[in-house]
């Protein structure tokens, strides 16, 4: 019953956010700030995540496919396809659930318990339009951009790891990557990141917006935001794979 209540409250927040999304002048500045914080500020950690995912996958694939009957280009095909279709989106999103989700929940939660949200409302602002809408919109827009970053650094990491370890020459890796590349993989990755961006930012904003009970309450809302976001990303990943592949 409690879970149903939470779903209802979350849906109501989304409905109010959607209704107030036309008040662009209220959240314009905040929207651009959030694009920088969610997108630009996350580039280093996403590059690092992508790079090491690609590197490790290449070395492990080379170890497992160490056979005279399997061409080396297969490693490039497996690694690049895995990165584009799954890992760049999912691993990046799990990292972003921690980085972005935790920040959003803490920020809004602190504003709630220190009455800053009440102050906004009392001045005549629509606090949902002012706080939730720009964060969700910025997330939905910037997550696909981060997917591109993760994909490039992931494949790049794979090429570099193959070269440095001597497992796969760059030419073989890239030949394999090109051979099995399907543009739909990229579209699928973008769709995933669009959905994951929405899930992470909306759940985190919801948890923060309705935080209560001081520092402990903010801590709980941050934990819930991160855990729920990760769970929902994994669930959505499964649903999207089942529906779109």
């Amino acid at each position: 019953m409690n879970a149903l209540g939470e779903i209802g409250k979350y849906s109501s927040l989304l409905y109010q956010a959607l209704r107030s999304s036309t008040e662009f002048s209220t959240y314009r500045k905040s929207f651009f700030n959030e694009m920088v914080k969610i997108g630009y500020d996350s580039v280093p950690i996403i590059m690092l995540t992508g790079f090491f995912t690609g590197s490790v996958m290449t070395i492990q694939s080379a170890y497992q496919l160490d056979s005279a009957f399997i061409p080396l280009s297969t490693i490039g095909a497996i690694v690049s396809e895995s990165i584009l279709i799954e890992l760049a989106a999912v691993i990046s999103s799990l990292v972003l659930a921690g980085k972005v989700g935790a920040r959003l929940a803490t920020e809004l939660g602190t504003m709630r318990v220190t009455e800053q949200i009440d102050a906004l409302e009392s001045m005549g602002f629509n606090s949902i339009s002012f706080l939730v809408v720009p964060r969700v919109f910025a997330g939905v827009l910037m997550f696909p951009v981060l997917y591109i970053v993760a994909s490039i650094t992931g494949v790049g990491g794979g090429v570099l790891a193959g070269m440095v370890s001597g497992a796969v020459p760059a030419s073989d890796f890239l030949a394999g990557a090109r051979m099995y590349f399907a543009p739909y993989t990229l579209i699928f990755g973008f769709v995933k990141m669009f959905v994951f961006g929405f899930i992470i930012t909306s759940i985190s904003c919801y948890q923060g917006y309705y935080a209560s009970g001081g520092a402990e309450g903010v801590g709980n809302s941050t934990t819930s935001a991160t855990v729920l976001s990760c769970m929902m990303v994994l669930l959505a990943d499964f649903v999207l794979a089942a529906l779109l592949l």
Binding site: T114, Q116, D118, S122, F125
Partner: protein, 248 residues
């Protein structure tokens, strides 16, 4: 004028108060007093519909705020300035920007006019020199004054104060009390002050509403309060006097 009619509020099974009725006339200063946890701040947040009651109405200048749609409620809220208990300053922007914040969104003023109005508001609360300070650099008393400057920047008709002197030393408390009186006189506003500080009440209020045992237990002028023989009110006032005397 604000009329509070048969207001009842519960959080789940917990009844906060029921059938609260009183009226706040234009230009007067009313203090809402009562023990900690009796629902004074909750009542304050019902007056401008930051919270909704289980039943009852709040009529502001002839309009029931709970019958309005959200857009109209937001417009009506601009008639109110609120000084929150913890000041509720936005910590991502500095003092000047905190005060200028409502002006930037709800007025057509030029940057120069905004600057002039913000400095005037800071002057009213004797804090002109703090305009460029970060909110984290402000003391408790300064935060209250910045909060008050922000509350008056849209020239409200009503100012609500939520525990304006809590957590402050006696000297700073007196300064805040003087500011409340000055605001009421110079801006010709109606003031609603939530407090359990009887020293403040006696200094600033024209009328008093006493919340006790989940209802409005007593309502009247400050003169009547001093003469009142009602047990719970007397006990509350006596406890406050004892506290004041014991600190001397």
């Amino acid at each position: 004028m604000i009329e509070i009619n048969n207001l009842t509020k519960s959080f789940g099974d917990l009844l906060i108060w029921e059938d609260v009725n009183f009226q706040i006339d234009d230009g007067e200063t009313i203090a809402i007093i009562g023990r900690s946890g009796c629902g004074k701040s909750v009542l304050l947040k019902h007056i401008n519909a930051l919270l909704s009651p289980d039943s009852g109405s709040v009529i502001i200048d002839g309009n029931n705020i709970y019958d309005m749609d959200y857009v109209s409620q937001r417009k009506l809220r601009q008639k109110f300035g609120i000084l929150f208990q913890g000041s509720a300053l936005f910590d991502s922007i500095n003092t000047f920007e905190n005060i200028a914040f409502p002006l930037r969104f709800f007025s057509d003023q030029s940057e120069e006019e905004i600057r002039g109005n913000v400095m005037d508001a800071l002057k009213m609360v004797n804090l002109e020199s703090a305009h460029d300070k970060e909110t984290s650099e402000l003391s408790g008393g300064m935060r209250k004054r910045v909060g008050l400057a922000r509350a008056i920047i849209l020239k409200p008709k009503y100012i609500m104060y939520d525990e304006p002197t809590s957590g402050l030393d006696p000297q700073t408390s007196n300064e805040i009390n003087e500011l409340i009186i000055r605001m009421a006189d110079s801006l010709d506003v109606t003031s609603i002050v939530v407090t359990h500080d009887m020293h403040s009440v006696l200094n600033i209020a024209d009328k008093v509403a006493f919340l006790d045992e989940q209802k409005l237990s007593w309502h009247g002028t400050v003169d009547d309060l001093i003469k009142s023989e009602q047990d719970s009110l007397k006990s509350f006032v006596t406890a406050s006097e004892y506290q004041i005397n014991s600190t001397r």
